[in-house]
């Protein structure tokens, strides 16, 4: 039900993480790109990362919940583009976790918990709450992961608008 492997994707999904972070580094120049470059330069070291992976993993879980919520909506086919966005968010966040820790991270492959059928109004509330949470998480980070979450927050705010 929540397996996204059979869903249509926009753009070249397999390279999206790399593209996103590469682009972030270029765009951010002396800002977030510095942190991204630092993260890349030491992927195999055992370093303590105080907050970033935990914040990012929480964001991964939030994206997974949103995907499951869309799958449980009354008309999920009408929401395929919103779902695609969340899948892209989750991939990018998993890429950010890997950059931060040097360890590939995957989502648990078990069946998702049963979701109640959600109305568009309920889904809109979830998207709005996710936007707020992502912006708060972004503000707790620095560098490329912060910028990634800031952009995800903006996307989820636009989802809430589209669900009006």
């Amino acid at each position: 039900m929540s397996d996204d492997s059979d869903r249509p994707r926009r753009g070249p999904a397999p390279s999206r993480r790399g593209f996103l972070f590469g682009a972030s580094a270029v765009v951010a120049a002396a800002g977030g790109g510095v942190a991204a470059a630092l993260l890349r330069s030491r992927p195999k070291e055992k370093v303590s990362y105080p907050a970033s992976p935990q914040v990012l993993l929480a964001a991964v879980e939030a994206e997974t919940r949103l995907i499951e919520a869309i799958d449980a909506a009354h008309d999920p086919a009408a929401l395929v583009h919103l779902r695609d966005d969340h899948v892209a968010h989750r991939e990018a966040l998993l890429g950010a976790v890997q950059l931060a820790t040097g360890t590939p991270t995957t989502q648990p492959s078990g069946s998702p918990p049963a979701q109640p059928r959600l109305s568009l109004t309920q889904l809109r509330s979830l998207e709005q709450a996710a936007a707020t949470a992502a912006a708060t998480a972004a503000a707790s980070l620095t560098g490329a992961p912060a910028v990634l979450l800031a952009s995800i927050a903006a996307c989820e705010a636009s989802h809430a608008e589209l669900l009006r």
């Binding site: 951010a28 800002g31 560098g143 910028v147 636009s158 589209l162």
Partner: protein, 152 residues
Amino acid sequence: MTGFDDAWQAALAAQNQAIFGYGLLGPHLPGADQPRAAALQATHESARDAISAAMVRVGVTPGHAAADYPSLYPVGNSAQAHALAARLEDECAAAWRVLYAASAVDAGHAKIPDPAARRREAQAGLSSSAVAAARWRKLAGAVPASRAFPGL
């Protein structure tokens, strides 16, 4: 000039372009959409004023708006007006995202006036422009209306 200053000026320039652009496209929109365009133009004017005031407070000279923006032409019908409105907001989102990146550096790496405030402003602007761009695309019937990573 620092990287942050460049990003700050670019965010200001994007607001100036959007203000001009909405004036250009507004008359070509269907009547029902014109109040939305006017409201968004006012939003960008407020952002321009806020950025300019913050710059002046820290001794940075705000850049001026251009006299014209030739790249925004032609706008001759409602389809072009909707497309331009979405483009203006996408370009503002990109500028806000760059400003966010320039503000979200580790403390001590750069001299940024009130970085927390700059990040809040950039996040608000990024989200606002993403919402507006999605709304314009929806009105134009564009699919998909959202962007997974606004500003990228």
